[in-house]
């Protein structure tokens, strides 16, 4: 616990931490204001947007959903990559990694504490995003009972619960990116290289997932499961794709963190 507290206090002293969180707070306002000013509304379902996007102008709760939809493929993976890459490579680059490892700390425990705090950073970011969305959406469109993808209407309280589940799901999805970045972070002393490597892999997966010729890869690419959170907005909730996605995420998380653990335990600290 003391390792987690220490690692968390470190990120609180970094300016970029607040830039990331501030960005996540502002984005829902930008989306809401842009939609309000354009008067056109979000992309309708027939143009590729989820069905409930058609309804956003009627309900501010959907800003939280729209924000998630807008950020899940790039900005959130970018923040997750940055958070993950800072864990080892960022400290190695700064030279502080050797200062820390000259104290009696177990390398594996330190790595897990750093992994946890990187995910905590994303979790806080998602909470900020949700709060920003509810404030922005509530202020401009009002918070009303939500109509689900299957046509039923649920109360505001139940809607917020479903939004919470969707955000929690995305958090697990982003943990795959964090784990990937942490693994790269143990392989290099450059945080930029680790961020770049993790992001490139995410983009490659997104490209592979968008090409029908690679459909056979879909079940294995974690990026192909990022959008499975929309299944929370059905009644009953469609658990099958959610379960498949979570299994995929957990396999990637365990695999990548395991690699990071293995490498870091044996790594020569030369920075």
């Amino acid at each position: 616990m003391s390792h987690i507290r220490r690692e968390f206090s470190k990120i609180l002293f970094l300016r970029r931490t607040y830039f990331g969180w501030a960005g996540l707070f502002l984005i829902p306002f930008l989306i809401t204001v842009a939609l309000r000013l354009s008067g056109e509304g979000p992309p309708p379902a027939e143009q590729g947007g989820p069905e409930f996007f058609d309804l956003i102008a009627n309900n501010g709760l959907l800003v939280a959903v729209a924000s998630l939809f807008a950020l899940v493929t790039f900005l959130l993976p970018l923040l997750a990559s940055m958070a993950g890459s800072q864990t080892i490579a960022g400290e190695a680059e700064a030279g502080t990694l050797r200062t820390v490892l000259m104290q009696p700390v177990h390398r594996g425990v330190l790595l897990l504490a750093k992994w946890f705090v990187a995910n905590l950073y994303i979790a806080i970011g998602l909470v900020i995003l949700a709060i920003g969305s509810l404030i922005a959406g509530g202020a401009i469109y009002g918070l009303k009972p939500l109509t689900l993808l299957t046509g039923q209407t649920v109360s505001v309280g139940e809607s917020i619960w479903l939004i919470f589940l969707a955000y929690a799901f995305v958090l697990v999805g982003m943990a795959t990116v964090v784990s990937l970045a942490v693994a790269f972070s143990t392989l290099t002393n450059s945080s930029l290289t680790a961020v770049g490597a993790a992001l490139v892999l995410v983009i490659i997966m997104l490209v592979l997932g968008s090409l029908s010729v690679f459909d056979f890869l879909q079940p294995y690419l974690f990026t192909s499961h990022f959008a499975a959170w929309v299944n929370f907005f059905r009644d009953p909730i469609d658990w099958d794709p959610i379960r498949d996605a979570l299994i995929n995420f957990v396999v990637w998380i365990v695999g990548m963190t395991g690699i990071a653990w293995y490498v870091f335990r044996r790594k020569d600290i030369l920075s």
């Binding site: 003391s2 220490r6 206090s9 470190k10 002293f13 970094l14 300016r15 700064a94 030279g95 502080t96 050797r98 200062t99 820390v100 490892l101 000259m102 104290q103 009696p104 700390v105 177990h106 044996r266 020569d268 600290i269 030369l270």
Partner: protein
């Protein structure tokens, strides 16, 4: 535990005599057939390395290193740049893994028992690095508590010891190099370890800063803390340390009390108006190897008892003598250069 067969014997006489500040328990433990190598007895050893070797691909950075640091030593770890000093310290701290061999701190083997070993030591390798966006106090609190509970009073105390008490509340990012060196020493001291390892602690400091740090190291030694001081400054080791090891290309060249790495000479220096003729006369008296040329002097390897005869011969051959002075005691620097040159010569053969 065998002595490095390639290490030069520093003093092939008896066990080193205890000198003020040196460890009385120091004594030779190498077998009679091997070169005598000054090591600590098992009870007093705080830090030792045993066949410590580290390869980086094809480069052997540390080569079968056997060091022995006794409790209470201020131990100089000398070597030119690239000799493997920093790599050795990284190995001792468990930052890198040895290719073979191990280090031992008190009763704990490194790397196997790295965490336990680290509780007994503190220090820094290369330049000490801290979190620049935090104050010195916060850095010490955060890093120091990885060693257990650290009180604010202790933080104040170590900051005072290194002369940073007035800047403890400033962000480390604004610190000068010298201040960071001092803060590195403060962090090393915070949990009161038995062994402090400092890698070139005076590098980049101004003369006053160097003096202060050396005085601090001496004071730590006086208080009974064992200090392992890596340096390429021979003068510094002479000033501060009671024992030292010399390394070159990752290998141990010599190890022993500084007083014995500092042999005296019974040579005399002769200056005349005609050095060429004087050389001829003195070689006639002492043989070709008895006289060497050293800049403007002739260095005569002879005891004081031969001086009257030398003078008589020179006067008889009408060589005007300007000065006959004892050769200055050979310094550690000369010793270091001599030992490393000898190693190079052996390598060429």
């Amino acid at each position: 535990m065998s002595a490095d067969p390639e290490a030069t014997t520093v003093q092939e006489a008896a066990a080193p005599a205890a000198t003020p500040g040196s460890s009385p328990a120091v004594g030779p433990t190498a077998g009679p057939a091997g070169p005598l190598h000054d090591r600590c007895s098992d009870e007093t050893v705080v830090l030792s390395t045993h066949g410590l070797t580290k390869d980086f691909k094809r480069l052997r950075a540390v080569d079968n290193l056997d060091l022995s640091v006794c409790r209470g030593d201020v131990f100089g770890f000398l070597g030119p740049n690239g000799a493997g000093k920093t790599t050795t310290i990284r190995l001792i701290f468990g930052l890198i893994y040895p290719t073979s061999g191990h280090a031992q701190v008190v009763d704990h083997r490194v790397p196997e028992q790295r965490q336990q070993a680290l509780r007994h030591m503190g220090g820094f390798v290369d330049d000490p690095v801290f979190y620049g966006n935090m104050t010195a106090r916060r850095n010490l609190r955060m890093l120091g508590r990885m060693n257990g509970f650290v009180t604010e009073e202790r933080i104040t105390e170590v900051l005072e010891m290194v002369g940073l008490s007035e800047r403890g509340g400033s962000k480390v990012g604004g610190y000068s190099h010298g201040m960071r060196q001092r803060l590195g020493i403060a962090l090393a001291l915070i949990h009161g370890p038995e062994l402090i390892i400092l890698d070139e602690p005076t590098s980049g400091l101004d003369p006053q800063g160097m003096k202060d740090v050396r005085e601090l190291i001496r004071e730590l030694g006086r208080q009974g803390t064992t200090v392992f001081l890596s340096s390429h400054l021979l003068h510094e080791v002479e000033l501060v340390c009671n024992r030292a090891a010399i390394v070159r290309k990752g290998r141990l060249v010599a190890q022993g009390p500084v007083s014995q790495l500092h042999p005296t000479s019974n040579a005399v220096k002769v200056l005349t108006r005609n050095q060429g003729k004087a050389l001829e006369v003195l070689r006639g008296l002492l043989g070709p190897t008895g006289v060497k040329e050293d800049e403007e002097y002739l260095v005569v390897e002879a005891g004081e008892e031969l001086v009257p005869e030398m003078v008589r011969r020179l006067v008889a051959d009408q060589v005007d003598i300007l000065a006959v002075v004892p050769a200055i005691e050979q310094g550690l620097e000369d010793m270091f250069l001599e030992l490393t040159a000898r190693e190079e010569e052996e390598e060429r053969r």
